[in-house]
């Protein structure tokens, strides 16, 4: 059952590596103002393809290493899992996945994760905006704090949230064993995704484009809706998708505050854990494969959308 948290982690790593990583010093760079080179960067694609073909030997070696590594780390375990899931054939798999408790757990997981992902899409964009465009005391501190959920073991997050919103809540808010508890926990661990994917795009965004819109009569709202949002959309989408993929596999942060109430707050990862405990590994594997399929579909969708918007903006003249 640890496979799911691993899936979540690799998604987290992807988020850090994937977009043009602005790093944590993002907020300071904004002071530089419109960058004359920024808007017309030369295209590196052609040059790099030429040089890789010259280094053909190294490239095939690289491909070999990557294939081997991915096989050992990702593909083989996933294959093994799939084999285990279908140990009792298709019927057995289907039965395990459609068991009412399994379906309920998957449903809770997907609904709560989708809600959290949407929440992130909005709040993450707002936070990124404030970090890049506003200046306020303690901005660097806030900027640094954003990454904390990535650095913190998720079980610690769970304890932190439990001490604030648990049965002994000092502020009288009791979220333990409720779906709100799940949402808060998942929102906590997925906070950085959207912020960190939108931030670098906002930093690089050409302010003159917004000035151009204003000079053409566009109100701030219109400029945001018609000019800024479309520019940010791929980053928001990618951050949201990664947050969703992370949330559906999350275990540590929900294990304490979620309460593990079947049909209410039991998420898929907890259900899997439970199946292992009652010695039903095939059911555990089957639900795992279902989760895997959802995560994979999400990431696939992201790639399609991302490559489409990239094609539109970068088709060479």
């Amino acid at each position: 059952m640890t496979i799911h948290t691993d899936l979540g982690r690799s998604a987290a790593a992807a988020a850090l590596l994937h977009p043009r990583t602005g790093g944590s010093d993002g907020a300071e760079t904004t002071a530089a103002g419109p960058d004359p080179v920024g808007s017309d960067r030369p295209d590196h694609r052609d040059g790099s393809s030429a040089s890789t073909s010259r280094l053909g030997g190294i490239r095939s070696l690289g491909v070999g290493v990557v294939t081997l590594w991915l096989s050992v780390i990702v593909l083989l375990p996933l294959a093994a899992l799939t084999v285990a899931a279908f140990g009792d054939g298709w019927a057995g798999f289907w039965e395990a996945v459609t068991a009412p408790a399994a379906l309920a757990a998957l449903w809770v997981t997907v609904v709560v994760s989708a809600g959290v992902a949407l929440l992130n899409a909005v709040m993450g964009t707002v936070i990124a905006w404030v970090l890049v465009r506003d200046s306020f005391p303690g901005q660097r501190f806030v900027n640094a704090i954003i990454d904390l959920p990535f650095a913190l073991p998720t079980i610690v997050a769970s304890i932190v949230l439990l001490s604030l919103y648990g049965p002994n809540s000092p502020i009288g808010v009791h979220l333990n064993a409720t779906r709100w508890g799940l949402i808060v926990a998942l929102a906590f661990v997925t906070l950085p995704f959207v912020v960190r994917s939108v931030q670098p795009v906002l930093i690089e965004a050409d302010r003159e484009v917004e000035e151009a819109a204003a000079s053409l009569g566009a109100s701030n709202l219109t400029t945001f809706r018609r000019i800024i949002l479309p520019t940010l959309a791929p980053a928001i989408l990618s951050g949201t998708g990664l947050a969703f993929a992370r949330a559906i596999g999350e275990y540590g942060s929900v294990v304490l505050i979620g309460g593990n109430i079947p049909r209410e707050t039991q998420v898929a990862s907890q259900y899997i854990q439970q199946q292992i405990e009652i010695d039903s590994p095939q059911a555990a594997a089957a639900v795992s494969v279902a989760l895997l399929a959802i995560a994979f579909a999400t990431l696939l969708l992201l790639r399609v959308v991302a490559s489409r918007s990239q094609r539109r903006e970068e088709r060479a003249p």
């Binding site: 808007s39 151009a212 000079s215 903006e313 060479a316």
Partner: protein, 336 residues
């Protein structure tokens, strides 16, 4: 018509605009010319409302717009780096100002078609900005600005990012466009040749102040001070005065030089100089000279004059300013 009165703008302790007042006549194409950092963009952006003034008044077409945001100033603005809406096609870029005004579809389509034809981008309307050359992008930006029928068109180094050939072409094209459209236009440039070429009026800025405003010929021939003289063309120091190199006449004979010089009132006199180098630049010849005082200067003479004079390195000649040349006394306070 645009008027700017007593505009002041500070960035911290740095004064970007120092009590600037200027009038831009209706229908004119006025260039704001000055060296880098002289405050050209600041002045233009203040007219547009993209920058707020610390004090001063801006009026556009008789309306005080000092407190108005850019949206309500009736301007079109073109940026050096195009500021294209990258996620929209050329057509949608040009239509943007009209579509946010919720004009009828048919009207927008007609107007956009017209503009695309004017800027020569009919065949490119479904492309994205990334699929255009720099010059095409800038023409798109110009069409986009013109689409909203602006009272004034403000251009901040619109050709600055383009190579010399395209620059020159677009400059000529802009002049023709202006003659057709007649919209009051302000063009920021640091290129004196560009300013002299396209504009009917030039305002020269230096260190946040206006040095002189006038038509190109006046500025070139009767510069108000040595800064303007130096910025609009090359200059040579003749005695204690500045003269354009092509206004220097060289003679072998001192008596002839003195006699001719007497006819030029306020001239710097006759300067005896030694030829250091003769450089042939096609139809012109540049003669590099050193005066008695040790001051070096260059004279630009025609090929024929150079032939007649038979100049060689080390020979002595007499230099004087030609009749009716632009001569400016050096003001040490304004030295570049």
């Amino acid at each position: 018509m645009i008027t700017v009165s007593n505009a002041r703008k500070q960035y911290g302790t740095f004064t970007a605009l120092d009590d600037v007042s200027v009038e831009i006549p209706r229908g004119s194409l006025t260039a704001l010319l000055g060296p880098s950092g002289s405050g050209k963009s600041t002045l233009l952006r203040s007219i547009a409302g993209l920058e707020g003034l610390d004090s001063g008044v801006v009026t556009i077409a008789g309306r005080d717009v000092t407190k108005e945001p850019p949206q309500r100033r009736g301007i079109g603005f073109v940026f050096q780096h195009y500021a294209a809406f990258k996620h929209m096609t050329v057509r949608d870029n040009v239509a943007f100002g009209l579509s946010i005004r919720k004009r009828p579809k048919a009207e927008i389509a007609r107007k956009v078609d017209d503009l695309l034809e004017i800027v020569g981008l009919e065949g490119f309307q479904h492309r994205y900005p990334a699929q255009l050359s720099g010059g095409q992008r800038q023409r798109m930006a110009l069409a986009r600005a013109l689409a909203v029928d602006p009272e004034v068109l403000l251009l901040d180094e619109p050709f600055g990012a383009l190579d010399a050939k395209v620059r020159a072409d677009l400059r000529t094209w802009l002049r023709r466009l202006h003659d057709e459209v007649h919209v009051t236009t302000v063009l920021v440039t640091h290129d004196q040749e560009e300013a002299l070429d396209v504009s009917d009026r030039i305002a020269v800025l230096n260190r946040g102040r206006i040095e002189q405003v006038g038509d190109p010929v006046t500025l070139y021939d009767r510069p108000a001070n040595d800064f303007v003289m130096g910025f609009l063309g090359s200059v040579a120091t003749l005695g204690d005065q500045l003269v354009r190199p092509h206004d220097i006449v060289l003679t072998r004979d001192r008596a002839v030089a003195l006699a001719e010089d007497a006819k030029v009132p306020g001239s710097p006199g006759v300067i005896e100089a030694v030829v250091e180098r003769v450089v042939r630049l096609g139809f012109e010849v540049r003669v590099e000279l050193r005066a008695d005082s040790g001051e070096r200067f260059a004279a630009q003479i025609t090929r024929r004059d150079a032939f007649d004079l038979e100049l060689h390195t080390g020979e002595t000649v007499f230099a004087r300013a030609a009749h009716r040349s632009s001569v400016i006394e050096i003001d040490p306070a304004l030295a570049i």
